[in-house]
């Protein structure tokens, strides 16, 4: 490497820094948190949440400021700034802000030292930022590991609670193992193409004849890494245990943030590295021998079916939502199997919808942990009469999760199905599997509102439960958009459509 090249790359690195403001803010937030955590007294730790909140809001503003930036590669194309990553960054910050809120109201975390907690949360968000914008196998690996390692710690954050520790252990072992597989896959892909940049990989794969078996094994191993992040079958096994064991706000976060990040990565990787666009509308697999779409379709079908089936038999609401989140990963995956624009924006739309309704449902779980001190479905009995607002909000979220009009969940599902039907006859079976899964999912969601409204409450004293105003506001923050976007979703849709624009090399 001669000196001019070094100079150019150095210049690129320096000029890239100006695009890196949100990430810097997050890093700065971490530092501030560390310092404050050391200095303040133990009883004032709640203030840490406020600081985290302020920091993330600032980051949000910074991300917003990047709205009009052109599609650019940063740090010698290690990362990308494009509408696609922008969309996800907003989503991640949104989930972070809300999870900070949830954490501040959570009983599980009350009285603990939450300094490290917020630091880890910020770090995870940072990792997710990278996941959404990584365009190089190395940055992909770093981003995933950043998220993973901090997640391991977050999952086992309740050190004194056995199931939290256990969850952390399982998560760690499963996570590192998956990373190992992925890494091995990366090495094979690198061996096949001699490049780490996914745009270049795509070009080289298209112009040479890679050994199909090797390529396939490599991608399958990589899929293990991504699949573990989005908790798709067959890499989902960790999810229920971890979701149940982790602190509830973290469960909520896991089910939305890293999952969305995994999808961002998956979409970018498959659509950029393994496919090529011809007319700007759709991609085609660069290696004709390997039928990625159908392979992913099978994975999607298996994911949603398995998630839904197991969820039926759950009694613990958190665990039920864990399985349901697996099923929803399956739905969202439907959009990515197609390698079409419709599929991608449908997935993105669905992730936003899922973010609203799933976090909303977890919010109710958190509120109810305080109200009725239980996560078991049968203890939700009579909630419709004891806490009508909470129950009504929960009903909205559950209907949205089921995918019934007029909620955003329906619209999300609608676009996914539309993308499938648009994709051609060969995907209609998947659409049918998906809608039948909707019916199955109703079966267990219905158990919840059945408990809340229908079951006999003769043996209960139906006193009204006191709900804090902040909880009500938070509920409204989730419930109102869930319904409103179900009636008028054009802005969100337009945004999602406009965000299907990837960095595709220089």
């Amino acid at each position: 490497m001669d000196s001019t090249a070094v100079a150019i790359s150095l210049k690129d690195n320096i000029s890239s820094l100006s695009y890196f403001v949100p990430e810097f803010i997050l890093i700065g937030l971490m530092l501030v948190l560390i310092i404050v955590d050391i200095t303040i007294k133990r009883e004032s730790t709640p203030w840490l949440g406020v600081i985290a909140l302020i920091g993330s809001v600032i980051a949000l503003v910074a991300v917003f400021a990047q709205a009009a930036l052109p599609v650019t590669g940063l740090f010698n194309n290690m990362l990308a700034v494009d509408p696609f990553s922008w969309f996800f960054k907003l989503l991640f910050l949104g989930s972070m802000i809300l999870v900070v809120f949830l954490s501040m109201t959570s009983l599980e975390l009350a009285g603990r030292n939450v300094g490290e907690y917020f630091i880890l949360l910020t770090a995870t968000t940072l990792g997710m930022f990278w996941m959404a914008s990584a365009t190089n196998l190395l940055t992909i690996f770093i981003a995933i590991e950043t998220v993973s390692i901090t997640s391991f710690a977050l999952a086992s954050y309740l050190k004194t609670v056995k199931r939290s520790s256990e969850a952390g252990l399982k998560y760690t072992i499963y996570g590192t193992f998956s990373s190992g597989l992925m890494l091995y896959g990366f090495s094979l892909l690198y061996g096949l193409t001699g490049s780490l940049n996914i745009v270049e990989i795509s070009k080289i794969l298209a112009s040479s004849q890679p050994h199909p078996l090797t390529l396939f094994v490599a991608v399958l191993l990589i899929l293990a890494g991504f699949g573990y992040k989005i908790a798709s079958v067959p890499f989902h096994f960790w999810a229920p245990d971890v979701y149940e064991g982790a602190p509830t706000p973290i469960t909520a976060f896991f089910s939305v943030g890293p999952k969305a990040a995994g999808f961002a990565l998956l979409i970018r990787f498959f659509n950029t590295a393994l496919a090529t666009t011809e007319d700007g509308a759709s991609w085609y697999p660069v290696v004709a021998e390997v039928n990625w779409p159908q392979l992913l379709a099978v994975v999607a079908a298996a994911t949603m079916t398995l998630g839904n089936l197991i969820a039926i038999k759950q009694n613990n609401l958190k665990r039920l939502l864990a399985y349901s989140s697996i099923a929803h990963a399956g739905y969202a995956l439907m959009g990515t199997v197609l390698l079409t624009r419709e599929g991608v924006y449908a997935t993105m739309f669905y992730l936003v919808a899922y973010y609203l309704m799933n976090l909303g449902a977890f919010l109710v779980v958190i509120i109810c942990q305080e109200l009725i001190k239980s996560e078991r479905i049968q203890d939700y009995r009579g909630l419709g009469y004891r806490a009508p607002v909470v129950a009504a909000a929960m009903t909205i979220f559950l209907f949205s999760l089921t995918g019934l009009p007029v909620t955003v969940g329906f619209i999300g599902k609608f676009y996914l199905l539309a993308a499938l039907v648009r994709g051609g006859e060969q995907y209609i079976w998947l659409a049918v599997v998906a809608v039948l899964n909707t019916v199955v999912s109703l079966f267990y969601y219905a158990r919840i509102f059945k408990a809340m409204y229908l079951e006999s409450t003769d043996d209960l004293t139906l006193t009204r439960l006191q709900i804090s105003p902040s909880a009500l506001v938070l509920l409204a923050v989730f419930a109102v958009p869930t319904v409103f976007l179900g009636v008028y979703w054009a802005p969100l849709f337009d945004w999602a459509t406009a965000s299907v624009k990837f960095f595709a090399g220089l």
């Binding site: 089921t402 009009p405 007029v406 909707t438 229908l454 054009a490």
Partner: protein, 514 residues
């Protein structure tokens, strides 16, 4: 207000529901809520009458159309309008909703929720009958599920939870298949203006705009089958009918009325509104056409036999609905003017008659707290007025001339038999068995409950009261009036239905079928 009368009639109940939710908690709350509901549905009836007066009977085109962009990027529109098929259903819905508010007077538990949900349901029903955009149609279709689930599940009978979830799962199963079919339509029908995709039902009905997948015959058949399952569950057609007895039995009176009076019609309405005109060739495909008739005949005969076996009065009425909806399907299958008009008229008439029956069941249940047919006896001595109305309803149900169902049933049978498109004679003859069976179980029930010696247990049963009479008498008048002179309703339908038949008969040539 009159220029967008359909929007008003659809959304009035929602406004009422919103007001109800705002009613503060105090001792007068219950009656305020009730009266808000009365006003909302009453205004709906006024609008329905207005529509009835203003409706142009001489055209098959859509009337009182309102069209507005909703989600332009996906070409989803707020598009409502009515033709002869929908207008009768709109009238029926407005009427029954209004009556059901009064039938719900006795609800004590969570009054606010009940009426709010009821009005939401009302909006859903109206919307389904007015929507001309498939997406809108689907949204309204699904909107009905949630209130229905809770109305059965919270205010229902002892097995309400089971019945509610069964209803919910069944209907959701049907509607999600419809969703897939809808998407196939969307992507394979060309918008004649923009050349893009469209949810506009009127465009879907134009066969020349079909392209892509929809130009393959086997795909059309599959889509038709998917739609059919969705609608058949609502009708309910054998063998998708088992949700109905449970739901009807467990639901509170007013909800049974709505369920049987309006919701069942949505199945056949959907077939006539969507399946028939959009995929006429699939309906004309012989195996489908004959399969359809076979199911209709099974519905009629099997429904009647099952009804005869019931000991629970409400369940008997529920099974009798299955049989009568079979008559609707039979009438639709022959593609004759007589049959088609008879079928839609039967939808209307069954709506009123079965509403009466369920209201009557509710009256006796409120007094005796059971519905066991064998457990009564000689009630006519104690409740002569009630018995009189029961006899009108029962005889209407068994198709006695002079009462509304007779004409529609006779037309359905005659229409199917005289079909030129298919040879349905043998099927129709088998179906006539149902006429005898219906008479059998209706009269047998009448005898066991009302005739004979008065059961001493009910020696002090109070006679039907004014409010209950108020719900029943209008229906009875309609039943008798339409039995003598059905033209007011038939006039509404005729042009539309005849036009539909023309479309259907042209289809085979258009699609090159033999």
């Amino acid at each position: 207000m009159l220029s967008n009368v359909l929007s008003w009639i659809i959304f009035l109940p929602i406004i009422g529901a919103a007001l109800i939710l705002l009613v503060p908690r105090n001792e007068k709350q219950t009656s305020i809520i009730r009266w808000i509901s009365v006003v909302a549905t009453g205004l709906q009836v006024v609008l329905a009458v207005f529509i009835f007066m203003k409706f142009d009977r001489n055209t098959a085109t859509m009337q009182m159309v309102e069209q507005a962009k909703w989600i332009p990027s996906y070409n989803i529109e707020y598009f409502v309008g009515i033709d002869g098929l929908s207008v009768s259903m709109v009238l029926l819905t407005a009427l029954l909703s209004f009556i059901c508010i009064f039938a719900s007077w006795g609800i004590e538990k969570a009054v606010k929720g009940y009426f709010a949900l009821f009005l939401l349901l009302d909006t859903g029903m109206m919307g389904v009958f007015c929507a001309l955009d498939f997406f809108l149609f689907y949204v309204f279709w699904e909107v009905m599920l949630l209130p229905m689930y809770f109305l059965i599940g919270i205010w229902g009978g002892p097995r309400r939870e089971y019945a509610a979830i069964k209803f919910f799962l069944y209907t959701l199963f049907g509607s999600v298949l419809m969703l897939v079919a809808m998407l196939v339509f969307y992507f394979n029908v060309k918008d004649p203006v923009t050349g893009g995709h469209t949810f506009n039902m009127l465009h879907m009905m134009d066969q020349t705009l079909h392209q892509g997948l929809l130009s393959q015959f086997n795909v059309r058949l599959l889509v038709f089958a998917a739609l059919y399952i969705g609608f058949a569950i609502k009708i309910p057609a054998f063998p998708f009918h088992t949700w109905l007895p449970d739901a009807h039995v467990e639901a509170p009176t007013a909800i049974s009325v709505i369920l049987a009076g309006v919701l069942l019609k949505m199945g056949t309405y959907g077939l006539l509104r969507i399946s028939y005109p959009v995929l006429p060739d699939a309906m004309m495909y012989k195996p489908f056409a004959y399969g359809f008739v076979v199911i209709a005949v099974i519905n009629i005969v099997y429904g009647a036999l099952c009804a005869m076996a019931q000991k629970d009065l409400k369940k008997m009425v529920a099974y009798s609905s299955i049989g009568h909806m079979g008559v609707v399907m039979l009438g639709m299958s022959g593609l004759t003017p007589l049959g088609m008009n008879g079928a839609v008229l039967q939808m209307f008439n069954h709506g009123t008659v079965t509403a009466m029956l369920f209201l009557l069941v509710g009256v006796i249940y409120d007094r005796a707290h059971h519905r066991d047919i064998e457990g009564f006896g000689g009630l006519s001595q104690k409740m002569p007025i009630y018995t009189g109305i029961v006899m009108v309803a029962f005889f209407a149900n068994l198709g006695l001339p002079g009462l509304s169902s007779f004409i529609s049933e006779a037309f359905s049978f005659l229409g199917a038999f005289s079909s030129t498109a298919f040879n349905l004679r043998v099927y129709t003859i088998i179906a006539t068995l149902g006429i005898v069976l219906v008479a059998g179980y209706m009269l047998w029930t009448l005898q066991r409950m009302f005739l004979g010696q008065l059961n001493p247990k009910y020696a002090d049963l109070p006679e039907i009261n004014g409010r209950e009479l108020f719900t029943l008498v209008p229906l009875a008048i309609i039943v008798i009036f339409l039995g003598v002179y059905p033209a007011p309703v038939l006039n509404l339908l005729e042009v539309t239905m005849n036009n539909l038949i023309v479309v259907m008969k042209e289809a085979p040539a258009l699609w090159g079928m033999q």
